[in-house]
Symmetry: C2
Subunit: 272 residues, 2 copies
């Protein structure tokens, strides 16, 4: 097989397996080529991934070695995306009663959710993460997008147990915005003890829901390895109960009566 | 830029934009290369995509022309995946009361949901589809995976309206399995009139939920462009109310008392 052809197949293969170790002998056999040629191919792939700002190949030496694609999107790539997101969100027509924001169109676009996933995965790429958790419903596409680039499973907490999931663990938590007591459940089989889990959600005001997930993780003896929210909004009446999170955008002065809103980049960009 | 380097960047660029038209002049400028070189590159990409069984490049001639990556996974690729899925599901430990099956671990793995998405996208790749619809919660990752390869938005129907979505349209439907009357709502802004919509869900017994989505689409004057379910199961007491669907696997003789279950490939493979 020619180098040019091999590079097309190899690029696809590698992109399709982020954070998965692939050995040189595997490539050598798959493409029926000498290890020295494969090494040269991988150097080209690595160079171009870096130039395109989409990450790099990590080389693991030794008998059990090989390469791993680490998705890590560059600051330039990310800044452009975050700015266009701010512009889209900064539309007074999106304002809903209670200072909420209509975001379903944005969350409904798989290209956008993929981009959001990339940014969180890049920010968390050097963390040791075993799983992603989110609570139904809006955070689900984001959780999968992040998980897809970190190559870890997703677990979904629900606000109501469902018959098709088997036995569950449930906790009560106080919603930050409404001060109501709510329930959150997670299927028993879904998380291993001691797992390092990253919390992903679409929206955070006071942080009650995120806090609920933190408490749920405690019940599983799991650790919080990171927290990422698409949009954080101020809550005048309530102090924030969650610290140490990354946000993609910050919603400032959302006022549905005055029909005004301001959206700025969140703190995630500082971690790229 | 050398051809080998260009091919790495180009393969990533194309894979990242399924069903999106990219013009030759765009590539020519992006890679600072002659159109004739770009044409040769694209021929190599097309050849290798076909050989790897992951689809092909469609060439659109004329001034507004260019190429489009059509993800269409080969029957061999798909058969292997479906068979391994059947084996995983054919485990009596998965049986839950009422003939349901524990599938959260499978649906929680982003690599698996991506593969499922690819297969449905391949089966529907020559259909004119404007959007994917599913109902919360389990079908969501599958809907996004399919949508991602078809490059269309996802809309999510819910069983309860939510304050953060604005005004909604709701319908009542009869759940096939429990014969209970249930409600399904969809945000008004989420679908355009006349849209051709593909329904995706994780599980179908009698088909009441799928039928509910069909009725909901009628309210939006939208058309059903296709129906895909991950797993279909027999329902002894109930005749199926949905026809014309594709399934990835078929659950036969699931019996939680006898702890027995059989899982076979569904009809989707016939459409690849």
């Amino acid at each position: 097989m020619k180098r040019s052809e091999r590079l097309v197949a190899m690029t696809h293969f590698i992109l399709d397996r982020p954070k998965e170790l692939v050995s040189l002998p595997y490539f050598s056999e798959k493409f029926d080529s000498a290890k020295s040629s494969i090494s040269e191919d991988l150097a080209i792939v690595n160079k171009m991934f870096r130039e395109e700002g989409i990450g790099y190949l990590e080389t693991i030496a030794g008998a059990a070695g090989g390469v791993k694609y680490i998705p890590s999107y560059s600051k330039e790539y990310s800044l452009e995306f975050v700015q266009s997101l701010c512009e889209k969100l900064e539309d007074p027509e999106r304002l809903l009663p209670g200072g909420y924001l209509f975001m379903s169109d944005i969350l409904g676009d798989p290209k956008t959710t993929r981009d959001i996933g990339r940014l969180f995965a890049s920010a968390f790429h050097d963390q040791d993460i075993d799983a992603i958790i989110t609570v139904a419903t809006k955070g689900i596409p984001l959780a999968y997008a992040v998980a897809s680039y970190l190559n870890v499973p997703v677990v979904i907490a629900r606000r109501d147990p469902k018959v098709t999931e088997g036995s569950t663990v449930s906790i009560n938590y106080v919603s930050g915005s409404t001060r109501k007591i709510q329930t959150m459940v997670l299927t028993k089989r879904s998380l291993q003890q001691g797992a390092r889990v990253c919390i992903i959600d679409d929206f955070m005001k006071a942080g009650g829901t995120i806090n609920g997930m933190k408490n749920l993780l405690k019940e599983f003896d799991a650790e919080v390895a990171g927290i990422g929210v698409l949009a954080e909004a101020e809550d005048e009446d309530e102090e924030r109960v969650v610290e140490d999170y990354l946000s993609l955008v910050q919603i400032i002065n959302a006022d549905d009566r005055a029909q005004s809103i301001e959206v700025k980049p969140g703190n995630l960009l500082q971690y790229l």
